[in-house]
Amino acid sequence: MTTRTAPPPAGLPGSVRQRAAITAKTLRTDRWWFAPLITVIGLGAWVTYATVRVFMHDFYWVEDYHYLTPFYSPCVTETCVPEAAHFGRVLPGWWIIPDAALTLPFLLLFRLTCYYYRKAYYRSFWLSPPACAVPDGHKTYSGETRFPLVGQNLHRYAFYAAVIISLINTWDAVLAFHSPKGFGFGLGNIVLLVNVVMLWAYTLSCHSCRHIAGGRLKHFSKHPVRYRFWTFVSKLNVRHMQLAWITLGTLALTDFYVMALSADWFNDLRFIN
């Protein structure tokens, strides 16, 4: 009765043990494909809109109120409206060069290497994995250990750049308190301000920021100020995903509002002047 012996424990020589022979690739019964699907639709729609707008080279500046869309900030090519080019016109005006060519690549890098967006596109576009306990769509996997994905570690530099760009966007929002009579305040200012506040919230909630703020410390008790900053960033960091989507929304909305005013589709609602 007791002739067969148990196989040797794993880890000993000659002990390659098999997993359970379950044929179904996944046994999940919920709509696990829904989240990756809406991510693809959402990101796809946004990227399409942004690409069209960036290469439109028009309707980015409202002369009367000095509204500048974030997609053209700072405007640095020779085709820029001179009043909109707060930092000079240093690049040649060729249609393939975005008017904000000095900042857009860094913003793209910031979002591409963002720890939230990485999760979003690895899951939805790269299917690695599409959802938890759903098989990866690839035969081999080396994660972020090799080129090019080891470049995700550049996120910190993109963060530094994003802080500078947020400062520029803030400056744009301040300059926009303008009307032909001098100071002015309208709905467009609120749109720009909300966008800037959300951009700051997204930028400061970044995981790299959390690390720099205090996450890299071993002894919080020796650095009370940085600990408080870390605590603040940690609270924002919990909402990093929401802020990532909210800022996509506010960016597109701000740009659309400026485009609509610039193209005279409707008029700005003015509170003062």
Binding site: M1, R123, C132, E144, H207, V238
Partner: protein, 363 residues
């Protein structure tokens, strides 16, 4: 029998629900259909117990506390890695067939029981807590604010749901050698953030030997964690950022060249062999000893060359399975999982240790 299990006071009769349970072992198996009575307030583990009490007395399942604190009853319920004792039957429709399968990532032993020793091997490879040398036990002093990050990770119950769901090893068996998994990333983070841990090379170790770079932060470990530990946000990403500090940050690199910190970093890096194979070859069960000096010290007391005798495997029944109980077996009492030829305490001559002051015998 079943009515005993109905929660007192409600008086609501149970309903019969459909289940598919994976039955088999490493030679193969398949999903078997069962109809089981389910009462109000029950969890999936209750259903497994009812199955064992009625239709399938030989259904194998690990369980222990029934309170989500022991981490034994990890299984996959409708394809999602979960604890059987923490998955309420009320979360399913009455007509829904609930599928229960063993953890996919680990080798199967039988039915819902898998061999999770992969995790224990990775645990042994992780260097242990290393307090400063001058501190004696009893002299440890630290502030709450300094240890609270590490304390989150101490909530881990080692159910290995994160290890099971992580696609790095779940879908790519070949990565098991070089990837330790989320559970050991939180261990690395716990120690690296610990105010009294004096080891300086944990970041390098996480990157070179634990395979931190394999993680693509898709957060499934966080999603399945029954203790709600923020594995990705609070451990893996901070560890990745710490690795960036050391390896990918030219500003830090320049700073460390210019300022005094460089010497410490270099010393730490000199201690750390980068090659995982090299690390593996000097690995010590005592932990905290990936430094050559510690290894030499440890070798004085421990006989690394000696093979510990492998105990006889427990006797199996005619179908080659462990007996569930003495009712179905020809021996009184269940067989010892350590082998029936092993007695405790273990005889001293068989231990993998000799006192440093004693001469070392060569065997």
């Amino acid at each position: 029998m079943a009515t005993q299990n109905a929660p007192g006071g409600t008086g609501k009769a149970g309903t019969t629900r459909n289940f598919k349970v994976w039955r088999g072992d490493e030679s193969g198996g398949d999903l078997t259909d069962y109809q089981v009575q389910v009462n109000e307030g029950e969890v999936v583990l209750d259903v497994i117990h009812r199955l064992q009490a009625t239709e399938a007395p030989d259904l194998a399942c690990r369980w222990n506390c029934k309170a989500g604190k022991c981490g034994s009853c990890s299984m996959e319920i409708n394809g999602m890695p979960r604890l059987g004792c923490m998955t309420r039957m009320s979360t399913f429709d009455e007509n829904e067939t609930v599928t229960i399968t063993p953890l996919r990532t680990f080798p199967i032993i039988r039915d819902l029981v898998t061999d999770v020793s992969f995790n224990y091997e990775k645990a042994r490879e992780t260097p242990a807590f290393a307090p400063p040398e001058e501190l004696k036990p009893g002299e440890y002093r630290m502030q709450q604010v300094d240890v609270e990050r590490s304390q989150e990770f101490r909530k881990c119950i080692e159910c290995f749901l994160c290890q099971n769901t992580c696609h790095v090893v779940r879908d790519h068996e070949e990565n098991k050698e070089s990837f330790s998994g989320p559970r050991y990333f939180i261990r690395a983070a716990e120690l690296d953030m610990h105010p009294l841990d004096a080891k300086t090379d944990r970041k390098e170790y996480a990157q070179a030997s634990q395979g931190l770079g394999y993680c693509n932060i898709t957060k499934c470990c966080t999603e399945v964690c029954p203790e709600h530990i923020k594995i990705t946000d609070n451990a893996i990403i901070p560890m990745k950022e710490r690795v960036v500090d050391r390896r990918y940050d030219p500003v830090v690199w320049l700073g460390s060249k210019i300022f005094r910190r460089g010497k410490q970093n270099e010393a730490a890096q000199a201690q750390t062999p980068r090659d995982p194979d090299e690390l593996g070859s000097v690995h010590s069960h005592a932990g905290a000893s990936h430094e050559p000096e510690a290894e030499v010290g440890a070798e004085r007391g421990v006989h690394w060359a000696r093979q510990v005798p492998h105990p006889t495997a427990p006797p199996l029944d005619s179908r080659g399975r462990l007996a569930i109980s003495e009712f179905t077996f020809d021996k009184a009492a269940a067989p010892s999982p350590f082998g029936d030829d092993v007695t405790f305490p273990l005889p001293a001559e068989g231990l993998n240790y000799s006192h440093p002051d004693q001469p070392r015998d060569k065997d």
